[in-house]
């Protein structure tokens, strides 16, 4: 009976731009779809014909290896044809505007465009102008929806439900699209969220979103069900925001000593790439509480689900 009640919702979006505009029901729909695609990874033949005849363009204006690769494998497993374009190989370096480049991609019959861009809102800009499906693979400090979805999926599969959990996000929140997407998703699914980091990178304004802000990690850790450590983004840091690596580790690094404060079943997550010895001690990253590699595997199932859903909708 519940099976049919659950199946009432139908997916209707051709674009995935952010978590903010999704309903809790849509988020759960994507996570459930990812369950089905995770099963595909256990078959003899791990490839399904769902997107046969479709062309996917991985359009990465900002460098990224893991996200791009994950999208590429996901697309191949769905039988789509994949083209990769990076910033230095595109005409953007010759002064072409984003809109013109995108129009060219569309004229070449790109059915799905996966966009990583340094400007917040770039995916939405394209989605409003193109009939292709646009998938946001990270835009500036705005959102990184598939990362948040794979984090939610990983939490759900380890803890059975997200609602009621206490999730602590540590580090550079201000510049982090991963943090923003995670905050939206976690709150929609009923988790309690605490942000911890240097006050310059975790301003009190975040409390308006409905999360708690703390500058005392040792006080927060004992009640955490999940800690999500964000990478210190050296490339985005300006000196005035940041006290120095040594002080950061002393106050906010997840050291072996500090990890003793955690509940034994608390999950340790990190979106990668890890700065070993900065956000987290190397041993903890490889330890029993770490689900960092699960996140990578689940990312594939999530991206297959997102490409299947958005790419499967007629843009006409």
């Amino acid at each position: 009976m519940t099976e049919l009640v659950k199946s009432q919702m139908r997916w209707q979006r051709k674009d995935l731009l952010g978590i903010r505009e999704l309903s809790a029901e849509e988020i759960i729909f994507i996570l459930d779809t990812a369950d089905a695609f995770k099963e595909v990874g256990t078959r003899d033949i791990k490839k399904v014909p769902a997107l046969r005849g479709k062309t996917l363009v991985n359009f990465f204006v900002e460098p990224s290896t893991r996200t791009r690769t994950s999208f590429e494998i996901a697309a191949i497993r769905l039988s789509a044809d994949v083209i990769n374009i990076s910033a230095n190989s595109s005409s953007l370096t010759k002064g072409e505007t984003l809109k013109d480049t995108a129009k060219i991609l569309e004229a070449n019959h790109a059915d799905i465009i996966v966009l990583r861009h340094s400007s917040s809102g770039a995916p939405q800009f394209l989605a409003e102008r193109l009939t292709s499906s646009i998938i946001n693979a990270g835009d500036g400090a705005h959102e990184h929806p598939t990362q948040a979805l794979l984090d939610l999926y990983t939490i759900r599969s380890r803890k059975s439900a997200v609602a009621g959990l206490h999730v602590v996000i540590i580090g550079d929140i201000l510049f982090s699209r991963v943090a923003r997407s995670n905050i939206f998703g976690l709150l929609k699914l009923g988790a309690r969220v605490t942000l911890v980091g240097p006050s310059t990178l975790v301003p009190r304004e975040f409390e308006k979103l409905g999360v708690a802000v703390s500058y005392d990690l040792d006080r927060v850790l004992p009640t955490a069900d999940v800690v999500n450590l964000l990478r210190i983004q050296h490339e985005r840091q300006r000196k005035e925001y940041f006290p120095g690596i040594g002080e950061y580790i002393r106050l906010f690094g997840l050291t072996k000593e500090r990890a003793k404060l955690l509940k034994p079943d608390c999950l340790i997550m990190h979106p990668g790439p890890i700065n070993r010895g900065v956000e987290i001690d190397s041993e903890l990253a490889d330890g029993a509480q770490s689900v960092i590699l699960d996140q990578v595997t689940n990312g594939l199932a999530i991206r297959m689900a997102v490409l299947y859903l958005c790419g499967g909708i007629s843009g006409q």
Partner: protein
């Protein structure tokens, strides 16, 4: 078709499956969600009580194998498929509620082949409403129900829909 007619049809299909498959231990009933799964479950129960032998069942979701992805305005929920493995030397019987164009069954055969290579694949459907578009036929049919293209077959099963078992033929009312 009421509840009694549905159970009689299923009982007859169970007998036919037993008759046509001397090696019942190698039979797997693979239901297509959601009503095909329920029909497969009932058939397995019937065969088990008639032949006193456990029957393997599975779920085969065809969404990822359909040939019209990208042509629809909305997508239904996908379920994980699961089949008792390995499929080699097995007879997989696809179980569907209503057989119509044959495209769902084609997709189901494609899905099954990604799990392995069964010795044979057969097809059971509670209703065959005609209008097939592919060279596929039903091996075990509960009821042949000739329909017009504009008509709809509405099937309800107790355990899936929370309504008593029944089949209706509905003429589309054009507004």
């Amino acid at each position: 078709m009421d509840g009694g007619a549905i159970s009689r049809a299923l009982r007859r299909i169970a007998h036919e499956i037993i008759e046509r498959n001397p090696d019942l231990a190698s039979v797997i009933l693979a239901g297509i969600p959601s009503r095909g799964v329920e029909i497969a479950r009932r058939l397995a129960g019937l065969i088990e009580s008639l032949a006193q032998i456990p029957i393997g069942t599975g779920v085969i979701d065809v969404s990822m194998h359909r040939d019209d992805v990208g042509k629809r305005a909305e997508l239904p929920r996908v379920q994980a498929s699961r089949l008792p493995l390995p499929l080699e030397h097995k007879t997989v019987i696809i179980v569907d509620d209503v057989f119509y164009t044959g495209r769902t069954v084609r997709a189901a055969m494609d899905a099954i082949s990604s799990f392995g290579r069964p010795a044979r694949i057969q097809l059971a459907a509670l209703i065959d409403r005609g209008h097939r578009e592919l060279p596929i036929r039903v091996d075990y049919v509960g009821k042949n129900l000739p329909t017009a293209v504009g008509e709809r077959v509405r099937l309800r099963l107790e355990n899936v829909d929370g309504e008593p078992d029944a089949v209706w033929l509905i003429k589309e009312e054009k507004a």
